[in-house]
Amino acid sequence: MPDNPNGQSSWHEPIIRALKENEVRLAVYVPDNVLRPLIGAVDADAYFTAFAAAREEEAVGIICGAAMAGLRGIVLMQTSGFATLANVIASLAVAAQIPALLMVSERGKLGDFQIAQAITARAMRPILQSLGVEHHTITRVDEAEFITGRTITQAYKTQAPAALILSPLLTRNLPGRQNPSASS
């Protein structure tokens, strides 16, 4: 797992591997600066059909349609975008039992400068909890592939939506902790 030129770990690589291992070929995103390496990777890789939607809700509709027609998809978004989704998760993905995969970069925590992100960050897990949506937070590169892959597997086996939250502990590149190869 190579480090990037800034000495930072490539946290997105195990996620890309897990998406491929589980045949998630559609990645629809609403851009986020933290997600930039992951968005760049899906955009650059012909394995994926990747594009931006105008709105997170639209992106969830697209991957729900794709999932029902046999193409696995995931939505990439930031915390504030997730906060727009309660209705579509409840009335489409949960109600119709569609394995919609959501990946959220966790903004509004551990030094974020955006007050709006901070408020929506506090709402995110309670929303998922109250909708009964399985969700996991990824904090470490060496756990990213396992958590991502297992979450996708369970979502499809149980026909239920699931959310993966990318903690700043993962995406903000703590040297030594993040990348197993860096400590060796």
């Binding site: 105008a54 509709g61 046999g70 119709a96």
Partner: protein, 202 residues
């Protein structure tokens, strides 16, 4: 605006569409009267009756179209619903899915909630909006024959297509059973069959 356009029956137009579907085309019926009249036109396993998530019939149809380029996919959406998700038109215009057609029933009101006027009762023109989003093959259906011909073109020529029809205020004859998990299961099973195989399992 568009005062020359005939106001038609949503149920009649939906029947005219369904009658032309011979190759297991997928149809996504938007929330409320759009999917109720799709149900009333005769249940098909290739229909997804969207009971919640107002505004998402078009994005769902896009997802199906991307998953199955060999199957034609229709979205049936009301004017109020389309107004919730206009950005989706721009997304579709850039992706240019050849197998996707969007049908908009415009009665210029939120009919099911008490006939409050939508923006198309005022100045909004959906075909102008679609063209502005980049959907070049966009047209108003002037009357029933015109609508039927536009459906035929959307079945035989490359899309994406956008067809809008002015409709009257008639209520649907009945409502789709509120069974989202069953609707999804039927639809998913139908989508797992090859288009043209005539899968009719309900």
């Amino acid at each position: 605006m568009n005062s020359h356009l005939k106001r038609m029956s949503r149920f009649d137009l939906t029947c005219r569409l369904v009658e032309q579907l011979k190759h297991d085309e997928a149809v996504i019926g938007g929330i409320g009267n759009s999917n109720f009249d799709l149900w009333n036109a005769g249940p098909r396993p290739q229909n997804f009756y969207m009971l919640g998530s107002m505004g998402l019939a078009v994005p769902i149809a896009l997802g199906v179209a991307l998953a199955q380029p060999e199957r034609r996919v229709f979205a049936l959406e009301g004017d109020g619903s389309l107004l919730m998700q206009l950005g989706a038109l721009a997304t579709i215009a850039n992706l240019k899915p050849r197998n996707l057609a969007i049908m908009v029933w415009d009665n210029a009101m939120y009919q099911i909630t008490g006939a409050q006027p939508t923006a198309s009762a005022g100045r909004a023109d959906f075909v102008a909006i679609a063209r502005g989003a980049g959907l070049e093959q966009s047209a108003w259906a002037a009357d029933e024959e015109d609508f039927t011909a536009l459906v035929a073109r959307s079945l035989s020529e490359d899309g994406p297509w956008f067809v809008a029809a002015k409709i009257d205020g008639s209520a649907p004859k009945g409502q789709t059973p509120r069974e989202p998990a069953i609707i999804k299961d039927r639809f998913t099973r139908a989508m797992a069959q090859k288009p043209g195989d005539g899968y009719g399992g309900l």
